[in-house]
């Protein structure tokens, strides 16, 4: 319509400053732990207890050796935390930023990028748990392991459209923010994080089920290279098509509805 209003969301042009966002997110992250005795280590205690306790427990339940199961659950859980916090956080991202939106302090895209980056910083920090488990159990680290960085990158990139799309829809329909945690809890249990699928058991019910679980594929992209398993072609197909499709849908919805967000929140 005009020079400024043509962009879908107010202030979209300002997105091109990743460093600026990174400074702010990192500082906010450190600030949160400033008055605590242990500092950011607090954020690690949860994952350590989870991986330590459930790792040993479920390795017995599932009859897997701990050397195999603990790296599996460590990578799975930390990566899952990233995915899950992006999705559930997206449900309230614009509501939390309400004051900033209405006073013009933060454009919608800034809020989205800050939300995504906050999750990324938390994730990178939790990766220390993975490093610890790998050292303790002597999991080999090879060149192939580095491929999991591509998986991490894909999850983060998808996080941008997920946060924008879910944030936008739940700005209008607040029900979504209520439903998301419940759904994510089910998905958590339906995805091999605290259990392991049988590799090589093709055509089984489980492998058919997992083929239709997109979260499994994103998880596999990160986990398989680190554990030395091959990545199946279907995983690449699913994740890349979701990325493309996600941005197309989100682009359409944003262009059409982003201007209503300040009125909805």
């Amino acid at each position: 319509m005009t020079a400024r209003t043509r962009s879908a969301a107010p202030g979209r042009a300002r997105v091109s400053r990743p460093l600026n966002f990174l400074f702010r997110v990192f500082f906010t992250f450190l600030l949160r732990y400033r008055r605590t005795a242990l500092g950011p280590i607090w954020a690690l205690i949860g994952p350590i207890v989870f991986v330590g306790t459930l790792g040993f427990l479920y390795s017995h339940i599932g009859n897997r050796p701990p050397t195999e199961f603990l790296p599996h659950i460590a990578v799975g859980f930390v990566t899952w935390n990233l995915i899950q916090s992006m999705i559930t956080g997206a449900g309230s991202v614009f509501h939390r930023g309400r004051a900033n939106i209405l006073q013009g302090q933060l454009p919608l895209d800034d809020l989205v990028m800050l939300e995504v980056m906050t999750n990324v910083v938390t994730f990178l920090h939790q990766c220390l748990v993975i490093v610890g488990v790998f050292i303790i159990f002597g999991t080999p680290f090879t060149w192939y392991s580095l491929l999991s960085l591509v998986g991490v990158a894909l999850i983060i990139i998808n996080g941008i459209w997920v946060v924008r799309l879910i944030g936008l829809v739940s700005a209008r329909y607040r029900d979504l923010a209520e439903v998301l945690p419940a759904v994510m809890r089910v998905v958590f249990l339906a995805t091999p994080i605290i259990w392991m699928q049988d590799r090589g058991a093709r055509g089984s019910f489980i492998s058919a089920f997992l083929t239709y679980n997109p979260f499994y594929h994103f998880l596999e992209l990160v986990r398989s290279p680190l554990l030395g398993h091959p990545i199946e072609p279907i995983t690449w197909i699913v994740t890349i098509s979701i990325t493309v499709l996600g941005f197309v849908i989100e682009g359409f919805v944003t262009a059409r509805y982003a201007r209503y967000v300040p009125l909805w929140v």
Binding site: G11, R24, F27, L31, Q103, P262
Partner: protein, 284 residues
């Protein structure tokens, strides 16, 4: 007071233009052109509930009650033009649409219909206390607010001595904001919010507070901001302020522009028409 500034900014804008633009557009390009801007917003109302007359309704409403959506018109066919050097005052009762118009000009709300063109960057000085972090030190707050304004670390570093000096915080700048007195916090907030000079300044009520000494000092700083900006839109209930600062005024009533002209005439128009000062509920 406004007159000399008006002339100088006009010249500056003229000088910035490439030579061939003169032949196409001999007049100075306006900073803001809003044409027939209408803003309709959805309001979600819960459906009529007669909880007391029929307790059973509680249950049915809980599961079957739907909120209904009505549209309210906050701005109705508003056309505004702001030329370089102009300072526009907005007059109107509470709920007349002054703040809403400013939010449209800042880009927070996008018009439902009509066109809006901004040549430059319109910055609203509202919500100035937002983004101040209690746990962070004063210095860190300057950095964070600066980053939020889109400045680089280098630019912020260059501004810091002036901000600390203006806010009169000295060594306290190294202490967390939570240890500040109300006055110190206010001085820092005001100093930080005004550390960069807006291109086009939008003000929803004049800002300023503090002890007498700081109030005077800050008023001068605000006047500097106004003078250095290429244009200003100010919504205020104070006619004295408007007369001192503005070159033109609009009278708004129920989201419509009902008068546009010199400040004195606008004031007279507003005071003579009592119905303009009545606040009406926004309903369609």
């Amino acid at each position: 007071m406004p007159k000399p500034i008006e002339a100088s900014t006009d010249d500056a804008a003229e000088a910035e233009k490439p030579a061939n633009a003169q032949t196409i557009a001999p007049r100075v390009a306006p900073l803001i052109v809003a044409r027939n801007v209408t803003l309709q917003v959805p309001v979600f109302l819960p459906q009529e509930r007669q909880l007391l007359s029929n307790p059973l309704r509680l249950v049915t409403d809980l599961y079957l009650g739907r909120s209904k959506r009505v549209y309210t018109t906050l701005l109705d066919n508003v056309s505004v033009k702001l030329m370089p050097g102009e300072r526009l005052g907005l007059i109107g009762a509470n709920g007349a649409g002054k703040s809403t118009l400013l939010k449209v000009l800042t880009g927070i709300y996008q018009p439902s219909s009509g066109t809006l063109k901004i040549n430059g960057e319109a910055t609203g000085l509202f919500g100035i206390a937002l983004g101040m972090l209690n746990e962070a030190t004063g210095l860190e707050n300057i950095y964070m607010r600066g980053l939020q304004m889109g400045l680089t670390l280098k630019q912020i570093r260059a501004l810091i001595p002036e901000v600390i000096d203006f806010a009169e915080l000295e060594d306290a700048i190294e202490r967390p904001l939570s240890t500040y007195s109300a006055g110190m916090r206010l001085r820092l907030t005001l100093a930080v919010s005004t550390m960069i000079k807006p291109d086009i300044l939008l003000l929803d009520e004049w800002i300023g507070a503090g002890d007498e000494h700081f109030k005077t000092k800050f008023k001068q700083r605000m006047l500097d901001l106004v003078e250095s900006s290429r244009g200003m839109v100010l919504a205020t209930h104070s006619f004295n302020l408007m007369k001192a600062l503005c070159t033109r005024a609009l009278v708004l009533a129920e989201g419509r522009v009902v008068f546009s002209g010199p400040v004195d005439d606008a004031q007279q128009f507003y005071l003579e028409n009592a119905q303009l000062r009545r606040r009406k509920p926004r309903q369609e």
